[in-house]
């Protein structure tokens, strides 16, 4: 700790921080632009000046940039003396000389850091009378607007985009008064985290283009704390609504998961909520019906039928549990392909029974070595990929400390670090976006990835089984990976369901267990395919194939399908046949799909925005998302529909449930793996000084008139029986618990930067700590032994391709793929094959290859890839009609090969 004196008052503060952070932590409003808690300091904008004095007698002092000045013991500082105030006013005045002063038409207005800082510094009069420089803006694709005239040259955008996120197509050009931030030419910003520019840029240069489509000022939004539903990471989001449409997704700070950032799938995937193909009315055999008619029909069906229920990995725990309760444990099926279920179950078993802890995303950021097996993280768990990048960017050499460079001194650190990085080893089926920072990137089939993993585990601990006939060259590589991991103090092993191989996941477990046995504090992460894959696995349920059999054998004739397009989890023929055999197919979903098309009864479920629920992320962290707005009367949470059905049937349990809390309590007492699930958030009657937490800022406008076209007098706002949040601006202004922060705001801080006011220390934990409950902890007394069953090395098969799934951040996830902006980024379907195979079949890029998978013929345009193993092909998940759930599978190539070349290549290959 250090004693410092600011404006003649003494404070005890921690050492190791800069003066800016320290002042902000103490509650001083020091204006700043270029500094960001996630990016550190570079001293580019000159806005954060304070005075430092030599000692108590020094009356003159000197101006310094507080973000560049380390805190030292006995430091005398002035924040509010006349010189500094004047200097800061001048700085903002010059930063504003070229600014167009167009707040009224700027999307940033009302949540703009530049506005806040201008007001804070007291610059209110424009003296600059000359022409302003103007720029041409670029078309940056479907996600972001570009309005360069508003730029104040803080350099945050390029520092985030290039340094932090590894982007290659955004840069700063020219100098002096003409600095330009953009791409080399118009075109889509390629980086998967580009949307963060809308929050990182303190001005209105980069703003959310999807929000512009239905623009609303921040203060006019009804907002709720939500959880991203577009992958298994479970990033925290703020979702905002007006006039019954979801308008934007912002980052919600979670110190253990996403910090300050979201990926573009998570930020822009929300538009499916407003899409044309939403189900808004109940229907029976395709005809829209009234609610009463629906209820009568459901009652009739349910009373006479033998009903089974199929759950969903994208529905909340509450909805899955309600369905399980309605149909009974014996009749509840989990709703994913057997293979996918086995992978999720394996992950849960390893993390629950095994000795190795699964780290949070932020812990991954601190790992000092990482080994990725089989996962293309940028496309399956984007924020984990971003965390891996930060881990690699660390400089743990001790050099910075030697010359007293601190973590936040970004430019100096980078300069000293040069090419030095933390080791990242990866083994994937083809190249990934993390290859640019890999120590070694290996490309292999899932079988060979698993073998490499097993070999590494064996090198770490000889009790772990070794693959047989393992080539020497690969052995050398395995040894070097093992040595790298053994040299680390807290390495992380990452794998997942991505390459659809339990062997890969087991190999990852063996590596982690072996390191653990060596006394190393190792972490093991498995990424899953859907937002609640883990939760669904914890609730359990019978296999999907058993559901099919139940209907075939006549044990059941009616199906209730929960938020699930079964065609994504089974072959078209099989699922089609199954649905056709059911006498009644009742589907609860929010969006039309092939399954709802075949349903006899369709019930309009709420999306995450219209629902309360809990989902469990890949870390095993259960997190609550809150309803953003009450939708029309006919749309409600699946679990609420199911409770209603239960009531009409006088179901003994369901009829006693009234609200979210009742279900959660029942779940806690009945589900062995979800014992404290009801503690995920405070009780429904939680109040702060007797008040609810408002979803709307106090400046919310139009309340008395916005529904005047329906009814002139103001309507009573809905009450929330499921949470302590209110649907209005009334309520407490005191900071709510972390899980329930609907938006960030503080007097004078209207922009996203106001999150600092909700943190203990700027950039650190929220005042109430992190949210969510971890359901999976390592088992110290684990009896989990090393996995055996190492697969044989992959051998290509003549006339065949071993087809495995590959993923796209835009397109592979079901719901975000229905968002208009995301759709513009979805690639056309293709089959990825090696150059050798392309030669064998005499194909050029984009030529059509015919492959039969499970006896059905498919045609795909091919993409040729240098690194994908020969004899293997990758099919993008969710992009094609092909039965992706059946992969990996041999495809019989129906395109005829070029015989001679074919023989030649096969022969040489076998020799190797």
């Amino acid at each position: 700790m250090a004693t410092i004196i600011i404006d003649c008052k003494t404070y005890e503060v921690p050492l190791g921080k800069n003066v800016l952070e320290t002042c902000l932590n103490l509650g001083f409003d020091v204006p700043y632009f270029c500094w960001h808690p996630g990016l550190g300091s570079v001293g580019a904008c000159r806005q954060c000046a304070v005075k430092v004095f030599k000692d108590a007698d020094d009356k003159k002092g000197r101006l310094v940039m507080s973000c560049m000045e380390p805190v030292v013991h006995n430091q005398h500082l002035a924040v509010h003396d006349a010189d500094t105030i004047d200097f800061r006013k001048q700085v903002i005045e010059w930063l504003m000389t070229n600014h167009p002063h167009d707040c009224a038409v700027c999307d940033e207005g009302g949540s703009c850091h530049l506005q806040d800082m201008t007001v804070m510094t007291g610059h209110h009069e424009r003296r600059f009378t000359f022409n302003k420089r103007t720029y041409k803006n670029q078309d940056l694709g479907p996600f972001l607007n570009h309005e360069m005239n508003r730029c104040i040259q803080c350099y945050r955008c390029v520092r985030f985009y290039k340094d932090y996120a590894g982007g290659k197509d955004l840069d700063a050009y020219a100098s002096k008064n003409n600095v330009y931030f953009g791409r080399a030419e118009d075109g889509v910003l390629e980086n998967e985290f580009s949307g963060n520019l809308a929050e990182i840029c303190p001005t209105g240069v980069f703003t959310d283009k999807t929000l512009k489509e239905h623009y609303t000022r921040k203060w006019d939004l009804t907002m709720s704390p939500s959880i991203c539903q577009h992958c298994s990471v479970g990033c925290n989001t703020i979702a905002g609504e007006r006039y019954g449409a979801l308008r934007m997704i912002h980052n919600r700070f979670h110190e253990k998961i996403n910090g300050y950032f979201l990926c573009d799938r998570g930020r822009f995937g929300y538009e499916f909520v407003n899409a044309e193909n939403r189900i808004k009315q109940p229907s029976i055999n395709g005809d829209v019906v009234e609610r009463t008619e629906l209820e009568t029909r459901l009652e009739k069906i349910m009373k006479s039928a033998k009903v089974i229920g199929i759950g969903s990995p994208r529905a909340s725990l509450q909805s899955n549990f309600a369905l399980k309760t309605l149909v009974g444990e014996d009749n509840f099926y989990h709703g994913v392909s057997d293979h996918e279920h086995d992978l999720a179950e394996l992950a849960v078993r390893i993390l629950k029974d095994g000795p190795v802890r699964t780290p949070s995303t932020k812990e991954i950021e601190k790992s000092d070595a990482i080994f990725v097996l089989g996962e293309d993280l940028t496309n399956t768990a984007p924020i984990v990929a971003l965390a891996v990048r930060q881990a690699v960017r660390q400089d743990l050499s001790g050099e910075p400390e030697k010359i007293h460079i601190q973590g936040w001194q970004d430019a100096a650190r980078k300069n000293l670090q040069q090419q030095r990085k933390m080791p990242l080893y990866s083994a994937t089926i083809h190249e990934t976006k993390l290859d640019d920072i890999c120590t070694s990137a290996n490309y292999a089939t899932p079988e060979d990835i698993a073998r490499l993993g097993f070999a590494v585990a064996h090198c770490v601990d000889h009790n772990s089984p070794a693959p047989e006939h393992f080539p020497e060259a690969l052995q050398v590589r395995a040894r070097s990976i093992a040595n790298g991991l053994l040299a680390a103090k807290n390495p992380t092993i990452i794998s997942g369901a991505g390459c659809a191989s339990s062997a890969v996941m087991k190999a990852a477990a063996n590596v982690a267990i072996a390191l653990h046995k060596n006394g190393i504090v190792v972490g093991l992460t498995y990424t899953m395919l859907e937002c609640n894959s883990m939760g669904l696995t914890m609730i359990g349920g019978h296999r999907l194939s058993a559901a099919f059999n139940a209907v075939i054998n006549g044990h059941a004739d009616t199906l209730i399908l929960l938020e699930n397009d079964l065609f994504r989890h089974g072959s078209f023929a099989e699922v089609g046949d199954f649905l056709a055999r059911c006498k009644n197919v009742i589907v609860l979903d929010h969006t039309k799909s092939d399954s709802t098309d075949r349903a006899s009864v369709v019930i309009p479920a709420g999306t995450f925005a219209e629902s309360d629920g809990i989902i469990v992320n890949n870390e095993g962290r259960a997190q609550r998302f809150f309803q953003v707005y009450e939708s029309t009367e006919s749309i409600q949470e699946s679990w609420r529909w199911i409770i209603n059905i239960g009531k009409t049937l006088q179901h003994p349990k369901l009829q006693t449930w009234q609200n979210f809390e009742d279900i959660s309590k029942a779940m806690a007492s009945e589900e062995p793996m979800l014992q404290n699930i009801d503690e995920v958030n405070p009780a429904v009657d939680f109040r702060i000084v007797g008040q609810r937490i408002p979803r709307e800022p106090h400046r919310f406008s139009g309340r008395t008139s916005m529904h005047a076209h329906i009814q002139v007098s103001e309507q009573k706002p809905p009450t929330d029986d499921d949470s302590p949040l209110s649907y209005t601006m009334e309520g407490t202004r005191i900071q709510p618990p972390s899980a329930m922060i609907p938006f960030y705001w503080s007097p004078g801080w209207n922009s996203v930067q106001s999150v600092a006011k909700y943190q203990h220390e700027v950039g650190g934990s929220l005042k109430d700590g992190d949210s969510g409950i971890r359901l999976l902890e390592a088992n110290a007394a684990s009896s989990l032994v090393y996995f055996q069953g190492i697969p044989e090395a992959f051998v290509p098969l003549e006339h065949h391709l071993w087809i495995v799934p590959t993923y796209h951040i835009f397109g592979s996830e079901e719901m975000s793929a229905k968002s208009a902006s995301i759709q513009k980024r979805i690639p056309t379907p293709y089959l990825l094959i090696s150059a050798v195979d392309a030669n064998i079949y005499h194909l050029k890029e984009q030529d059509i290859i015919k492959v039969s998978i499970a006896n059905i013929s498919y045609s795909f345009p091919i993409k040729i890839n240098r690194n994908i193993p020969v004899g293997m092909a990758a099919l993008p998940y969710g992009l094609c009609d092909a039965p992706i759930n059946a992969l990996p599978e041999w495809g019989i190539v129906e395109t005829s090969p070029l015989t001679e070349l074919h023989d030649y290549v096969r022969k040489t290959k076998v020799q190797h």
Binding site: K168, D169, D171, A172, Y173, A174, S175, R183, A184, Q419
Partner: protein, 179 residues
Amino acid sequence: MSETKTIQFSEETMATVQRLIKRYPEGRQKSALLPLLHIAQAEFDGWLSPAVMDYVAVILSIKPIEVYEVASFYTMYNLNPVGKCLIEVCQTGPCWSRGSDDIVEHFEKKLGIKVGETTSDGQFTLKTVECLGSCGTAPMLQCGGDFYENLTNDKVDTLIEKLRANGQRSTYMKDNRVM
């Protein structure tokens, strides 16, 4: 201008380029970017077209955008075509107090162009720049690697004649001074 000819360093220049690149450790070829841009500018008509910058990017195995970023930062790289002689008149304080404005005006009158423009015969481009470190001999200008000092209108007239007669392209590369 250079769009019509193939962009390719002469063998001799390429040897120099390779020598420069070898100064830096493996994987850090980008360090040679500044001298390479000067060489490219000298070789390809005194300016860096996007095609020339892309060519340099290929030689250094970096992305074109990395070249644009650097080239656009420095005033001594021309991103638009320039005349054979690029006249850069210093306009910073000391030169200004010794009459640089008049010198500029005289150039404008004599050449019939404004600052930033090129004569229609492609012979001269007029540009103003900041202090060139020769304040003791103010007012002064630079044309390629040469300084012309203690300027007067008469000296300017002579200079224009001399440069026109010479007919050569000005270049900072004189005596390889940028390397």
